[in-house]
């Protein structure tokens, strides 16, 4: 019976299409169609309710490129990415190494403790951090005050506001990334490490020369996710805490698109900005595949 089935390739194909259809349909309806529609909207001047959609050609793209705010948004986005890559990729990578190969006792406790903050929702995390960092009535301000340091009001200080908002995203992503990297480390054979130890190789070298190359496939996944999630996860705290202020100093591209579309009802400009964002990320992804992917080690 089984043999007969394999020979009937036509039916097989049909069945395969049946199985693939639901997922494809979902993708087309919820991913590709909106993408095409966004492209269409980016050539219009329309506020989502007006009956007339005015075709304006490339005007929206021009407006995006000529707007000084766009530069700010791009700069902030880059700053967010740098901070987040450091805090939710590099730091957990090192800690995962320490937890797996250096620590002797209490590994389990640390794993749990470091993961717990991921369970907090972003809105709650944002409000808790706002309370903690309140320069006048928060605990951080009080401790700094003891040392005679006046805490600046971060929500109105350029640069600092980006750092504090990033911390909310860190709260959310750190634990998850840590666990993923930890599971990557568990794939490294302990014999290699022990052999290196016998040679009195310092931990720094073990990490750099053995563990990093062997876990590069996990690491590259976490790196990309950090960048993508970092972009999205900072949206919530921006919306809750500063609404992009002071003077766009905490806004990133995603929040900028949201504000154009649902704050100002400039559907066209918002779509143009999001198409440009998508292109930027396509280029990044291309570069990643072309250069980074080659150096990655996949076990199988």
């Amino acid at each position: 019976m089984k043999k007969k089935k394999w020979s009937q390739t036509g039916r097989e194909h049909f069945l395969a299409w049946c199985f693939v259809a639901p997922a494809t349909l979902a993708f087309v309806v919820f991913m590709f169609w909106p993408l095409v529609y966004t492209l269409y909207l980016s050539f219009l001047k329309w506020n989502m309710v007006a009956i007339n959609k005015v075709m304006v050609g490339l005007k929206n793209y021009e407006a995006v490129f000529n707007d000084p705010v766009t530069k700010k948004l791009l700069g902030n986005t880059l700053l967010y990415i740098v901070i987040l890559v450091l805090l939710i990729f590099v730091l957990p990578y090192i800690l995962a190494f320490v937890n797996t190969f250096v620590m002797g006792k209490g590994k389990g406790i640390y794993k749990t403790l470091l993961f717990i903050p991921s369970l907090i929702s972003l809105v709650v995390g944002a409000i808790v951090l706002q309370w903690i960092f309140n320069p006048l009535s928060g605990p951080v301000g009080a401790v700094l005050g003891r040392f005679g340091i006046a805490m600046p009001s971060w929500s109105k200080t350029k640069g600092l506001v980006v750092l504090v908002i990033s911390l909310v995203a860190v709260l959310k992503s750190f634990g998850y990334n840590f666990l993923v990297l930890l599971s990557g480390m568990s794939g490294v054979s302990t014999e290699l490490i022990e052999a290196a130890r016998l040679e009195k190789t310092p931990n720094r070298k073990i990490f750099g020369k053995i563990v990093m190359p062997l876990t590069s496939s996990t690491a590259i996944y976490v790196l990309i996710m950090s960048i993508v999630q970092g972009m999205q996860y900072v949206f919530t705290p921006i919306k809750v805490l500063t609404q992009g202020g002071p003077d766009f100093a905490s806004s990133n591209i995603i929040y900028g698109v949201y504000q154009e579309a649902f704050g100002y009802y400039n559907t066209g400009k918002a779509s143009a900005l999001s198409i440009i964002t998508m292109l930027v990320f396509l280029v990044l992804l291309f570069l990643e595949f072309k250069y980074v992917e080659k150096g990655v080690y996949y076990e199988n």
Binding site: A21, L25, V49, N134, P135, S137, S153, L241, G245, N266
Partner: protein, 434 residues
């Protein structure tokens, strides 16, 4: 066996496809004996206002059997409701009554189809000819007018007031019985508090809008828009002088705080700021959390000048299309505008009612105001209320944001008051000219 499997796979696929369509078999039977159904969209959640809204709706539904009102909650306040409304209107089913924030007044009027209360009265209920003019004060009615046309009926009103910490006043040697009246006195009091106690003296709420700033600037004789209402006109010497006072408090005296609204209110509640200039809609929140002798004072004035207080809150336009629904919506509107319901609404939320007689009505707020000094303060400002400026055209919300950003530029010293106002005015006018 094989056939059965294939059949099942196919069925599954078909079922999944079918799941996406369908569900459109809602029959609206035109049975005359059936009550008219109308929907009422509002923005109040369970912990802020919704219980009273539900109580109103239930009481109205129980009071007669011709109309059924269905209340619909929209999260994320006015912008959230606006987004949902955009989507509903595009798909062709507008709600019957909606709740619109005053800052969306012009945008709503320019982009949506609605029926004015005057049209409804003229067409169906001529006996209500004088209802609006006898029920509401003129300056309250204008809050919901565009070019003289009454777009909807005002429902909730909030005004900016001064909250102050009487304990800190005493610690600084100030008299808590005589809070500052003018802006100059506010500045002096804030300076004293900072010098004597080491804490901040003053904070004016900094949401992403210009509501409180408008009160400050207009109080000094400035206007936000030009006379024809088509252009921004806030780069005047009067506006600069008023804004300069706030800037000096923050930058020179270091007695006023420059921080986001939530943090500023937290700091005030924790006794770290002497005076808070903020919306009366926060009375409930602040009262329940503050551990000190909390009192209120009226929004400050400039010596010798009139008090100008911008109104926050919302109004209710009617979007119902058919005659029955419009009549029903009007009935419901009159029902909730009764003093006892408005009083209940105010007690629960801290909003002011649109009718002044609610304050004197024994069924209304009389007793409550006598006990609650802060709400009394907000009430006494009612006759000085003016519209919260809604920038004209489609770019209204963007204009509001640009104007709000000038505050950050001024208060972090990156621009002088005159330059910042001029730059914002130019940016707005070129935006409005498009």
């Amino acid at each position: 066996m094989k056939k059965l499997k294939q059949l099942m796979a196919l069925l599954l696929a078909i079922m999944m496809l079918a799941g996406c369509g369908g569900g459109k078999s809602n029959d609206t039977g035109d049975d005359t004996s059936k009550p008219v159904e109308i929907t009422f969209w509002h923005v109040y959640s369970e912990n802020f206002g919704a219980p009273v809204i539900k109580e109103m709706v239930d009481a109205f539904n129980a009071s007669q059997d011709e109309i059924v009102v269905i209340e619909v909650y929209n999260p994320d306040m006015y912008p959230g409701l606006m987004q949902n409304l955009q989507a509903e209107v595009v798909s062709g089913n507008s709600p019957s009554i909606v709740m619109i924030g005053y800052n969306y007044l012009k945008y709503f009027a320019a982009n949506f189809i609605y029926v004015t209360p005057d049209e409804i009265i003229e067409k169906y209920v001529p006996e209500d000819k004088d209802y609006l003019s006898t029920t509401f004060l003129d300056n309250i009615l204008t809050l919901a007018q565009v070019d003289g046309e009454q777009v909807g009926v005002p429902f909730s009103i909030s005004t900016p007031i001064i909250y102050y910490n009487a304990d800190m006043f005493i610690a600084a040697g100030l008299d808590p019985e005589n809070p500052p009246v003018t802006w100059e006195e506010v500045r002096a009091a804030a300076k004293t508090i900072t010098e004597k106690t080491g804490e901040y003296g003053f904070y004016m709420q900094e949401y992403a809008d210009n509501w409180a700033v408008q009160g400050l600037l207009e109080g000094n004789g400035a206007t936000i828009l030009s006379e024809d209402g088509k252009q921004a006109a806030f780069a005047s010497p009067e506006a600069a002088e008023a804004y300069q006072l706030l800037a000096d408090m923050v930058l020179e005296d270091k007695s006023a705080l420059h921080i986001t609204a939530d943090e500023g209110i937290q700091a005030f509640i924790n006794g770290k700021v002497g005076m808070l200039c903020g919306t009366s809609a926060k009375i409930g929140t602040i009262q329940s959390a503050a551990q000190f002798d909390l009192r209120g004072a009226e929004f400050p004035v400039f010596a010798g000048k009139e008090r100008r207080v911008p109104a926050g809150g919302n109004f209710l336009p009617i979007m119902a299309a058919s005659e029955e629904e419009q009549k029903a919506a009007w009935e419901f509107m009159k029902f909730i505008m009764q003093p006892e319901w408005l009083a209940k609404w105010s007690e629960n939320t801290g909003y002011l009612p649109p009718r002044q007689d609610v304050a004197e009505d024994p069924d209304g707020l009389k007793a409550y105001i006598e006990e609650n000094q802060l709400l009394g303060i907000a009430f006494s400002e009612m006759d000085g209320i003016y519209s919260w400026v809604a920038f004209p055209g489609d770019v209204g919300t963007q204009a509001e944001q640009i104007f709000a950003n000038t505050r950050d530029k001024i208060l972090d010293r990156s621009m002088s008051v005159e330059d910042a106002l001029k730059e914002a005015e130019d940016a707005l006018n070129s935006l409005l000219a498009e």
